[in-house]
């Protein structure tokens, strides 16, 4: 019981630690290779977004609700 509650209690802390470490990794600008890796991922994500935004029409009639 105690080990199970400890496991449950530590799970949110591990998630928050993982999120914090990911944020530090993504925003650390002191390492050029790390920055380049993150920016390569951002570039790939930007290309994916650009290629999949095709159904965009500002002048289309609004749906009747």
């Amino acid at each position: 019981m105690m080990s199970g509650s400890n496991a449950k209690g530590s799970f949110p802390s591990r998630v928050s630690e993982w999120i914090s470490s990911t944020y530090r990794f993504a925003t650390d600008r002191n390492d050029f290779r790390r920055n380049l890796l993150v920016n390569l991922g951002l570039f790939a994500a930007g290309v994916w977004v650009a290629r999949n935004l095709s159904d965009f029409d500002l002048m289309s009639p609004q749906p009747v609700t």
Binding site: F32, N35, N39, A50, L53, M59
Partner: protein, 331 residues
Amino acid sequence: MMGSVLAAPPPPAASPAPLLPRGFGLLLFPPPPATGSRPQREAKNVLPNPGEFEQCHQKCKEVFPTQVNGVRLVLNKTLSKHFQVNHSLQLSSTEDSGYKFGTMFVGSGQAGPAEFYPVLVGDVDGSGSLNAQVIHQVTDRIRSKVAFQTHQQTFVTWKADAEFRGEDFTAAVAFTNPDVLDDSGVVVTHYLQSVTPTLAMGGQLVYQRRPGDEATFMSLVGRYTGSNFVGALTLGWAGVQASYYHRASDQLQLGVELEAGSFWQDSSVTFGYQLDVPKASLQFKGVISSNWVVGATLEKKLLPLPLSLVLCSFLNHQKNKFHCGFGVMIR
């Protein structure tokens, strides 16, 4: 600046053809191979001219908004179908404020649908600093350009270049700040070859010489053009530049750019988009970059008045800086 209504010179009302000199127009997608009376075998072997070397990443850069700081007022006056003048007044707390007078002369020679020659462009500010360019089509395939830039009474930049356009390649050489007495200068050579109707590859060689020092830089470039997208990549000793342009629809264009420099050990990604609503005479551009910069510009033609309104704002979260600008262009 090429995509900005504020920067683009408007065509004169009396001219039957658009007054857009060569070098001020947009890069067009390569035309499809000719068909019809030509034999199929010959049509497959025809490669289009790849265009200019500097235009490889231009399609993507034109999507990004141009930052306008302070207040800018631009008045364009077309005096004839060959000559127009413009008055520009800028008031800003972050940049130099002042007045500029500019002129543009376009000759009668025509090299293409929207390419006229010779073209003389120049502007001078209140302190006497001059920017001038002369673009001339020497022959059907050779184009030359001479540019000067002065800061008051001192020449800052003087440059001459020549470009040769072959059937399926473009070669250019440029001399920047050549000084025989000081034994210094910069020589830049470009070569761009169409490998397939959609793929172009080329290179650039830069030779820089100063008293007691000389250096050479080389970079390679590749550009792939699809039906509605353009991808380009530049690899060099100084860094890497990759860009992707996508025309999602008639209204929406997107651009993504990656720049990584080995000199400054830094890299950045910029994502931008451009929304065109011709029915509303409106153009909106937005950008977000990995340097925590978010910006946008709104350009609106106030029809039927000959006015264009530009609103701009840029926010740098990292440096906690905010810049906004307002501009009016009178045609």
